[in-house]
């Protein structure tokens, strides 16, 4: 493949990582959701690009799924939920933004180191993709770990899924089963979370997981 296509793919994947970083320093829920939408859009682009350069047409489907569901449906839905449940709009962080960013950088470095040990005869694009995907996954986890609100945790989780999609599309000729499963799992995840939000809404005043933790199975 020529340098340009590689650079574009590289750019998009790197952009995805960048957006993940942006998520790390959001402190308002809406902003976070918007950034996530952006994340999804970039993902859609990179997937589409992958589809183009691998001319694997089924990947367009994935791109479309990403665009429609993650960039539009889910953010809108989350906005709705937040309004409906009247969740207070700012994010309570467990760890300060600064340390979180530092940790994020460390994670990216770690994933790079890991993936660069992979023997080079593997397709370089794939290697790059994997490195980025791994860092996105770790960053997503980091978001889940450092945020207290359930919604932001959900968002973090979905950005993690985005990383998976990136990895899956980077993997040449990976059969459709994967994309479907990803979309499938996201769908399930979203539905079930929605179900839960409703049930929880019935019983608690917020979906802040901390409130749930008061109802732990065993009381101290």
């Amino acid at each position: 493949m020529n340098g340009l296509t590689f650079d574009i793919a590289h750019l998009l994947a790197g952009g995805l990582v960048l957006v993940s970083f942006m998520m790390l320093y959001q402190d308002r829920l809406f902003a976070l959701i918007n950034v996530f939408a952006l994340h999804a859009v970039v993902l859609a682009l990179s997937v589409a690009w992958q589809a183009y350069i691998q001319d694997a047409h089924h990947l367009y489907v994935t791109a479309a799924i990403a665009l429609v569901f993650k960039a539009i449906v889910i953010p809108v839905g989350l906005h709705r939920i937040i309004q409906r449940l009247g969740i207070h709009r700012d994010i309570e962080t467990a760890v300060g933004i600064g340390p979180t960013m530092l940790g994020g950088i460390g994670l990216v470095a770690l994933s790079m180191v890991l993936m660069l040990r992979v023997t080079p005869e593997a397709d370089p694009l794939a290697r790059e993709d994997l490195a980025f995907a791994l860092s996105i996954i770790l960053l997503g986890l980091l978001v889940m770990v450092t945020r207290r609100n359930a919604v932001s945790q959900v968002v973090g989780f979905m950005s993690l899924e985005n990383g998976l999609v990136l990895a899956a599309t980077g993997a040449k000729g990976m059969p459709l089963v994967v994309e479907i499963s990803v979309a499938f799992s996201i769908l399930i995840a979203f539905i079930v979370i929605g179900v839960f939000l409703f049930r929880i809404r019935e019983r608690f005043d917020s979906v802040d997981v901390g409130a749930l933790d008061d109802y732990r199975g065993e009381h101290r």
Binding site: L110, S111, L114, L138, L141, L142, M144, V209, L212, E218
Partner: protein, 673 residues
């Protein structure tokens, strides 16, 4: 021709069948009890007959049997050699006696359905342990034995103490089993050759040998009640019904001794000389501490349990001597020591069962185990008290009874020890001899107390009033045991010659033939050095006592007048002025208590002229429990308290755990060369 091992397996099967039968029978308490104990009695007797024929014909050549059970690619192996024959005899005789006793005693059982099914199972398990010829079968039966006895300990589970006793017992038991498991793991090697043949063939490294010895001391020692692993014993043995206590004390501890002998003397091969030192030290410590605890005890059954610990100590002292001699290639001395140990095993199974039966009789008659509430039973239960007295004399190692013979043999073995080359042994052996003598003397004191407080004097509480003689089954059991105590005491040569077939394969030597000696006397080495003749001693005592009595009744006055006891001018009316168990032990507590129990006495005397009562407070500590076991509990509490926070984290924190774990693993990979 079916091998005798196979026959015995049928016996075991019959016992297990009885256990199953008991599950349904136990509901009908009266007839069910009689049926079950009758069956166990019959089976044990039959097994004893088989063993007897075997001993009579050819005890040495092993008879084996194998079943396609247990570990699939090995199967369950059983082997009947001289050693196991001897211990099987001990087990089944104890079982038969306990069943006989149970025929009467079991009728007073409040919860027969919690005793009857497990009693035959317990017997079967002990038989299996002794017959097992591969590690898996051995351990399975061993732990099954613990389990069955645990169920029997829990028979009266409503009492808090029993539940606690059962708990400590089973935890200690499985600790021991794990130790044995590790020992067998070492013996069998990575290949997993779990048969005893393979272990005999293998020659472990010195280090492995040392480990195996240590693990056996932990495993078998914890079962036998070796200090400091004895703590469960005085809790568990008394908690069970008395005939089961008799089995546990008189027989199960012997099965543990069997395990030790089997592995150390049979499977392990040549021991290092210091192994003798270790065993001697532990044995001596156990003997003295055990009997001291017994002296301080005022619960009759717990006293007996502690004295079991002492006797186990005596046995292990002899075993340690045997090890030392064996390591220094002194086979005849080793044979002497081992014979002493085995003889004591037999004796202890006799008189400890007898004593527990007596305690059970007292328990049924008065409902009391606390000696402070007993007294004067000799008038209400003359036969029981006579049998119990015989037991006391025998266990106090007094001639002409059997207890003395085994202790005498042990002393004779100790006198062989100056030829030992190692300094450790040179210093250790006489010291241990002193400990042995001390424990024997203390045992006498202890059983003077046990008998004197329980049966003599005046009743200390109303519990004694309704007491009456127990049923004939119990009496038969007790008296046959008492007769055996005397018999083994006056014709010890018979037993010793029987044991020679056990020591011969293990040590490669035996004691000189005893029955050839004139007047049935026993001679460890040579007549000029030392000999003992129980029969003549017995006859002399009988003769001179008779002569004296005759002379008295011939020449002296026969007049007898009954009158109140002479209290040196102070006519005391209340029985509470008698010596109690605690006060009887007070002088000895003064001597030994301070270092053994950190005992402290505080006396508050009212000032002169005032008539207020004086108070004497005695504060005693179970040093071993407090220094060894309590800290473990504390550490456990501490650890669990702190770890328990992990149950109460928020989801985010749990995620953090996962996340950190992932990152750590990735880091490891990244830094992987």
């Amino acid at each position: 021709m079916i091998s005798s091992a196979a026959v015995l397996l049928w016996g075991v099967a019959a016992l297990l069948g009885t256990a199953v039968l008991a599950v349904s029978e136990s509901r009908r308490s009266g007839s069910g009890t009689r049926l079950i104990y009758g069956l166990t009695l019959g089976i044990s007797a039959a097994v004893l007959l088989v063993l007897a024929s075997r001993i009579a014909n050819d005890p040495v050549t092993p008879s084996t049997a194998a079943l396609p059970l247990g570990l699939p690619w090995i199967g369950a192996h059983f082997r009947l050699d001289a050693l196991s024959t001897f211990f099987l005899a001990v087990v089944n005789f104890g079982g038969a006696m306990a069943s006989l006793y149970g025929l009467g005693y079991g009728r007073h059982e409040s919860a027969p359905h919690r005793v009857l099914p497990f009693f035959p199972a317990f017997l079967a398990a002990m038989n299996l342990v002794v017959m097992a010829d591969d590690a898996f079968t051995f351990l399975l039966s061993w732990e099954f034995m613990s389990l069955a006895s645990w169920a029997l300990v829990m028979a009266h589970h409503r009492e808090q103490d029993n539940a606690r006793a059962g708990y400590i017992y089973l935890v200690m038991a499985s600790f021991g089993t794990l130790a044995l498991l590790l020992a067998f793991g070492l013996l069998s090697g990575p290949g997993g050759n779990y048969t005893f043949e393979a272990m005999r063939a293998a020659s472990p490294t010195p280090l492995a040998t040392a480990f195996v010895l240590a693990l056996m001391l932990l495993g078998a020692g914890s079962k036998a009640g070796l200090v400091p692993l004895h703590v469960w014993l005085p809790l568990a043995h008394p908690a069970a019904p008395s005939h089961v206590s008799a089995l546990m004390s008189g027989v199960m501890t012997k099965v543990a001794v069997y395990g030790f002998i089997r592995v150390i003397f049979d499977l392990l091969g040549e021991p290092a000389w210091w192994s003798g030192v270790v065993v001697l030290f532990l044995g001596g410590l156990t003997a003295v501490l055990g009997i001291l605890y017994a002296l301080m005890e005022k619960d009759l059954k717990r006293l007996l349990a502690y004295s079991t610990i002492e006797n186990v100590g005596v046995i292990f002292v002899s075993l340690g001597l045997a090890l030392a001699f064996r390591a220094n290639a002194m086979p005849s001395a080793a044979a002497l020591a081992l014979t002493a140990a085995l003889f004591h095993v037999l004796n202890h199974s006799f008189f400890k069962s007898l004593l527990f039966f007596g305690a059970g009789a007292v328990l049924t008659a008065t409902g009391e185990r606390d000696m402070e509430k007993l007294g004067g039973l000799i008038h209400r239960m003359p036969l029981t008290s006579f049998a119990f007295l015989v037991g006391c004399v025998a266990i106090s190692a007094l001639p002409p009874f059997n207890g003395f013979v085994s202790e005498w043999l042990a002393f004779q073995a100790i006198l062989q020890s100056p030829d030992l080359p190692e300094w450790g042994l040179k210093v250790m052996v006489p010291a241990v001899g002193g400990l042995l003598a001390l424990s024997a003397a203390l045992a006498a004191a202890c059983f003077v107390k046990a008998f004197g407080i329980t049966f003599l004097g005046r009743p200390r509480s109303a519990a004694v009033e309704p007491a009456h003689e127990v049923d004939r089954y119990s009496l038969t059991a007790m008296f046959s045991l008492a007769a055996l105590c005397l018999l083994a005491g006056i014709v010890p040569g018979l037993v010793i010659d029987g044991l020679s077939s056990v020591t011969l394969p293990l040590i490669g030597s035996r004691m000189p033939v005893q029955m050839a000696q004139p007047w049935l006397s026993i001679v460890p080495i040579a007549t000029s050095r030392s000999s003992y003749n129980g029969l003549l001693v017995f006859l002399f005592i009988a003769f001179s006592a008779a002569a004296a009595a005759y002379a008295i009744h011939r020449f002296a006055s026969h007049a007898i007048r009954r009158g109140p006891a002479w209290g040196c001018g102070f006519a005391d009316v209340t029985p509470s002025s008698q010596y109690t168990a605690v006060s009887f032990a007070q002088p000895i507590r003064r001597v030994f208590g301070t270092f053994a129990f950190r005992a402290r006495e505080t006396v508050e005397m009212p000032p002169p002229g005032q008539t207020g009562p004086a108070r004497l407070d005695v504060e005693m500590h179970d040093v071993i429990w407090e220094t060894l076991y309590l800290p473990i509990g504390k550490a456990l509490d501490f650890a669990t308290d702190h770890l328990n926070h992990l149950q109460f984290l928020t989801i985010r924190r749990y995620l953090t755990l996962v996340f950190l774990f992932l990152v750590v693993l990735l880091l490891v990979l990244a830094l992987w060369p």
